[in-house]
Amino acid sequence: MITATRKPMEEILKSVEPFRKILLLGCNECVTVCHAGGRKEVALLGAALRLGRLQKGQPLEVEELTLERQCDPEYVEELARTVDQYDAVCSMACGCGVQTIAERYPALPVMPMVNTEFMGASEANGVWAERCAGCGDCVLGYTGGICPVARCSKRIFNGPCGGSTKGKCEISKDVDCAWQLIWDRLKELGQTELYSKLMEPKDWSTARDGGPRRIVREDMAL
């Protein structure tokens, strides 16, 4: 899923300074799962915003709402009737949600309340870790199910580099060396021969390097 973390309160307060009435908008999907922008976080931030502004002597009217999905026009349409009442939308969704709102309501300022982080998986309660960089041409089948693009600090395809130490990456003892993980898993799978094959330079045109990407499924057009 897409992970996000809330922006620092100071930055948030600064960004809403010009406004007197806002819609604080959460999303029920990824940001709910990673506890950054669901119903609960909307309520918390709403209270903090009101209080913060009250202390400054500039009260802020905050209306709270959490959409089923903020990156989907179908749900974003729900705002059409009420949106005129607000000076701005403060979105607690990921960057996709923020932009969907901005596109649909061009006259309305949309402020992001979270920093969208990465595509991650939940490792433990309260811990999310980057697992995929969306390169558009998945190689996990050759690398023991561990991604060298997202999980090796140097995106090495024929690793590990000389900095790998005791299973950890050279950048920090807190970061696993992806190539140690890959090698361990290949051994477990009895697929060590996959390592000996030279992996060719990657075609990054399927990744962000090929320009902004779209998926068009004509079979799904209405």
Binding site: R155, S164, L198, P201
Partner: protein, 307 residues
């Protein structure tokens, strides 16, 4: 001969090769380069010119390579994958070849988080093994990575680095094998202090036939002080400095530690000369270029062969 590289000629003639290292300055001062390089003339067969080492910005490796070439040294032009995509790499390789640079070393590069621009975007378009294969292909097949023909292919003697002490140990020789398979003409290793472990690595590499077509130069670095020994032991990722080595340097009074470091180094070089598959040494005398003549003299490595 694949190139006009002096290192290639020395190795092909069967001599025990000696390469040195020179870190470019952190400014546009060419005099500083010349001063450092002057100590190395006649002392080594090639000089590695580092490329933004430890992810700190320095004068361009190709510019320093060209400068020392003009002084009669053979530059070993280092290029890291961190800072350049495949377009920039190939264009720099062509430029270097056109200027008479004949020897190159392919590296991943230290991660930017270590350097002076931890905020930098890091490229890592291709990895060091793919880079090696790319240069070999440019040279031998006259093809760019994209497939087009090169009208005048760059004639490079091309090498790679190996760290016998990184983990996992069992992958180290396999990874060396990958570099050899990708076309490494020569290999320079990370600094060696754990001789036993290195001997084991060499034995495996030799048994696998990896030293037949690729020349392996064993990396050595003089320890200047107990502080440096401890730093290398504890702070440098992928470095293996046994406690006995640290203790030996630390056991000397401060003013005698550098001398002890050189003595240890000479002993190591003697051991390396005897090790099957070791074709030479790569002497990384970090910011100690002025001591190189004394070191190579005492290690019995002079005069350097004229080939």
């Amino acid at each position: 001969m694949k190139s006009d590289s002096n290192l290639e000629k020395v190795l092909a003639a069967g001599h025990f090769a000696v390469t040195g290292e020179l870190g470019p300055p952190r400014g546009a001062n060419l005099e500083a380069v010349k001063e450092k390089a002057a100590h190395l003339v006649g002392m080594v067969d090639a000089v590695n010119v580092t490329d933004n080492q430890t992810a700190v910005v320095r004068m361009a490796s190709w510019a320093v390579s060209l400068t020392i070439k003009e002084m009669g040294l053979e530059p070993n032009y280092q290029m890291v994958c961190r800072d350049r995509n495949r377009l920039a790499m190939q264009s720099d390789i062509l430029g270097a070849a056109a200027l008479g640079i004949n020897t190159m070393l392919c590296l991943s590069g230290d991660h930017p988080s270590f350097g002076d621009h931890p905020q930098a975007a890091n490229v890592h378009d291709i990895d060091s093994i793919q880079q090696l294969a790319m240069i070999k292909r440019m040279r031998d097949e006259g093809k760019f990575l994209g497939g087009d023909d090169i009208d005048t292919p760059p004639k490079m003697f091309v090498g790679a680095a190996a760290n016998p002490f990184g983990d996992p140990f069992e992958l180290r020789v396999l990874r060396l094998g990958k570099k050899v398979a990708a076309g490494a003409d020569f290999i320079q290793t990370q600094c060696i202090y754990n001789m036993e472990r290195f001997a084991e690595y060499m034995r495996q590499a030799h048994d696998m036939g990896l030293t037949e077509n690729t020349k392996l130069l064993a990396g050595v670095t003089p320890l200047k002080s107990a502080g440096m020994a401890k730093y290398m032991a504890n702070r440098v990722p992928g470095m293996d400095v046994p406690k006995a080595v640290v203790d030996r340097i630390a056991g000397q009074p401060k003013e005698k530690q550098a001398e002890e470091g050189i003595k240890l180094l000479c002993e190591q070089i003697e051991q390396l000369k005897e090790m099957p598959g070791v074709a030479g040494i790569h002497l990384m005398a970090i910011e100690w270029e002025h001591r190189v003549p004394e070191i190579v003299e005492r290690a019995g490595l002079l005069p350097r062969p004229q080939v």
